[in-house]
């Protein structure tokens, strides 16, 4: 029988199958962080249970951590308590942790791939909705809640009902200056934010194949933003080249065996998906959001839409509310929108390639007056690599701030927040009301658009600078 990539990974992890219930799946790896775990560890203690496989579990500190003065005690007492709770829990249960200040610390979805832990054909979970990032390697990776974190800690398994399968085929090549972020924002606006609900999505086609591993991670990262359970991409030579030699990648004689098994994961010729979306990359352009969910986006060359542009009544209401919150007027050109802040970072666009793209634009330029620029590498490793290339100097010379690693202004659990009413061009993944700080307004953009926007002080693409 022909099967899709996701179907194969699913089948390889079934421990028990009941005809009318969910499948019990084995979980190859469990990533944890401070926010979604304290209650799970309490649950284990309460029931007198152990962590079944500490050796298949890794902890990092990312959501709460400050990105300035990282050697000082964390100033916010509640954040500090949560970090301390994680440290105490992993010590009690024997789990490895990368703490603030360690060379391995960083955003959970950035460090997994960096360490070579994220490998094709694995099942990976984390109490975080952007876990699909790891799908870029052909892993079946998805976010879970705290009860499920406890379940995985106790059993290294999860009961899961099998979702439907969807293919997103992106034909053609992205035009010069159009990036993975633009591609996925385009897709979400096209499919709608509920469009992926109930599906595991496989991204494929020429434009996906042509993306770097980092670009593929950006696309898979945002699977949840249109409701998909997971998003994955068939592993290929780029995947293998990325992994080879990394700390936890297969070594020695294991390497050829692993690669052989990974190659067999690709979707079989003739396998059927429950649904397919087909897009043409060659028609895409830099894409930005105007509203308060990731599906409310338009090309940068476009204008703020009117609620009347939507046929669905719910969408009309949502647009009306979003325009009020964002303080925008229908018909306003996107390029006229002035910003107070630019944030470059997050698990969507906080990798070396993203920082290089932004630095290439900022080199020899200065950010606009009245605009601040925050550059936050996704991990300590990204920070050190960027510094070895001198990118930090470019950002600082341009008037930006260069920070330590973490989630930072993606969700404002640490001190990096927007003030009420402030407007930000952000390379993160969510523009929900108040996401970057209460009353803050977010426009989702690519790193290249973020950098050009910082220079112009209003939403802009690199091409606007040359003119």
């Amino acid at each position: 029988m022909t099967r899709t990539l996701a179907q194969k990974v699913w089948d390889q992890h079934i421990i028990a199958h009941e005809s009318d219930g969910p499948d019990l799946l084995h979980i190859d790896f469990h990533l944890i962080h401070e926010v979604s775990t304290p209650q799970a560890f309490d649950g284990l203690r309460l029931a007198g249970r152990k962590v079944r496989r500490p050796d298949l579990t890794l902890a990092t500190e990312d959501h709460n951590v400050p990105t300035l003065n990282i050697t000082a005690p964390i100033a916010d007492p509640i954040s500090r308590l949560q970090i301390e709770a994680l440290r105490k829990n992993v010590e009690e249960f024997g789990i490895k942790i990368f703490k603030l200040g360690d060379a391995g610390q960083g955003i959970v979805h950035i460090i997994g791939p960096e360490l070579g832990i994220t490998q094709p054909g694995m099942t990976i979970v984390c109490g975080d909705s952007h876990t699909a990032t790891h799908g870029a390697f052909g892993a079946l990776a998805f976010g879970i809640g705290t009860s499920q974190v406890e379940h995985v800690l106790a059993t290294q398994t999860l009961p899961q009902a099998k979702p439907k399968m969807m293919a997103v085929t992106v034909n053609g090549s992205l035009p010069h200056g159009v990036t993975a972020k633009d591609l996925v924002l385009n897709l979400i606006a096209h499919a709608g934010i509920g469009g992926g609900q109930g599906y595991i999505v496989e991204y494929r086609g020429q434009a996906i194949e042509e993306l770097s591993m980092e670009g593929r991670m950006t696309v898979c990262n945002m699977s949840i933003e249109w409701g998909a359970k997971a998003g994955l991409i068939a592993p290929d030579q780029k995947t293998f080249d990325y992994l080879e030699g990394r700390k936890f990648a297969p070594q020695g004689d294991d390497w050829p065996l692993a690669v052989e098994s990974w190659k067999a994961l690709a979707t079989d010729e003739g396998a059927v998906y429950d649904k397919e979306i087909i897009l043409d990359a060659s028609t895409m352009s830099p894409f930005v959001t105007w509203g308060t969910n990731p599906g409310q986006g338009v090309p940068l060359s476009g204008v703020v839409p009117s609620p009347n542009d939507f046929t669905d009544e719910g969408e009309q209401q949502a647009a009306l509310k979003a325009l009020a919150y964002m303080d925008l007027t229908a018909g306003e050109p996107m390029r006229d929108i002035e910003v107070d802040a630019v944030f470059i970072g997050s698990c969507t666009n906080g990798r070396l390639e993203d920082l290089r793209a932004a630095a290439a634009i900022l080199e020899g330029r200065h950010i606009a007056a009245n605009t601040r620029l925050l550059v936050v590498p996704g991990s300590v490793r990204v920070r050190l690599e960027a510094e070895s290339e001198g990118l930090d100097k470019v950002f600082i010379a341009a008037g930006g701030e260069w920070r330590g690693a973490g989630c930072s202004m993606c969700l404002g659990m640490n001190p990096d927040q927007l003030a009420p009413g402030e407007r930000c061009a952000s390379t993160s993944n969510r523009n929900f009301e108040g996401r970057q700080g209460q009353g803050g307004r977010t426009h989702l953009v690519s790193p290249a658009v973020a950098a050009a926007t910082a220079v112009m002080g209003r939403l802009a693409a690199p091409a606007d600078l040359a003119r």
Binding site: I15, A16, G21, P22, L24, H26, D28, F29, V35, S36, Q39, G43, A47, R52, D55, L56, T57, L58, H63, D76, L81, Q82, L115, I117, Q119, M122, G127, D128, S129, G143, I144, G145, T146, S147, Q148, H151, T155, Q156, T157, P159, A161, I193, G194, Q197, I224, G227, F248, Q251, D254, L257, N293, G314, Q317, K321, L411, G412, R430, E433, G434, Q438
Partner: protein, 195 residues
């Protein structure tokens, strides 16, 4: 988890689609390490607006939330479910839920049920006309009723059975311990291990 058979209470008409978890509970409330006490975080930003539906006197004490489609999109924070429960909600009704939210609700014992758009509209009208109307959610019969109006709802069989019996999912899984051992002993040697 406590058993849930049926529940009767008053309901809040929440005429909004795509309600995201950052609205249900903003991130600043996620720093807490306890399992309860999240009621103050529920819709914290929206509750500062006088006209917000939860602030209306007639809906105080309601235990059923009737929301628009796509409820609970965004983050995986189970705190969103806990905040709804801590505030006093036992049931959320919507034409559709984000997958992670729906899963979290089932695990935490918040009953998340799906009825079609028309039925949601009807329920909104009923509880707006008369906010004291008792609404009954019968998990055994899979029905929601309000006054004369009665409609069948959807919930997956597995979650329904667990809620009805108040089962601990971890205990159910641990009954498969031998199969888990067998699976793990055959796991490829090159898969990552942290030592």
């Amino acid at each position: 988890m406590e058993k849930f058979i049926s529940h009767t209470g008053t309901a809040v008409p929440f005429r909004q689609s795509n309600v995201d978890t950052d609205q249900i509970i903003p991130s600043e409330y996620l720093k807490r390490i306890t399992r309860n006490g999240f009621e103050d975080g529920l819709f914290a930003a929206w509750r500062t607006e006088e006209n917000f539906v939860l602030n209306k006197e007639e809906y105080k004490g309601a235990s059923i939330l009737i929301a628009g489609p796509n409820f609970g999109i965004g983050s995986s924070r189970e705190h969103a479910v806990w905040a709804l429960q801590d505030y006093g909600f036992a049931v959320v009704i919507s034409p559709s839920f984000a997958d992670i939210f729906r899963g979290n609700a089932g695990n935490a014992g918040l009953v998340a049920i799906v009825v079609d758009h028309e039925a949601v509209e009807k329920l909104w009208d009923i509880v707006e006309d008369n906010p004291t109307t008792p609404v009954t959610v019968d998990l055994e019969a899979r029905t929601v009723s309000a006054g004369e109006f009665i409609v069948t709802f959807q919930i997956d069989d597995h979650t329904r059975a667990r809620l009805l019996e108040g089962q601990d999912e971890i205990a159910l899984t641990l009954a498969h311990a031998k199969e888990i051992d067998a699976y793990e002993s055959a796991r490829p040697s090159w898969r990552p291990l942290i030592s």
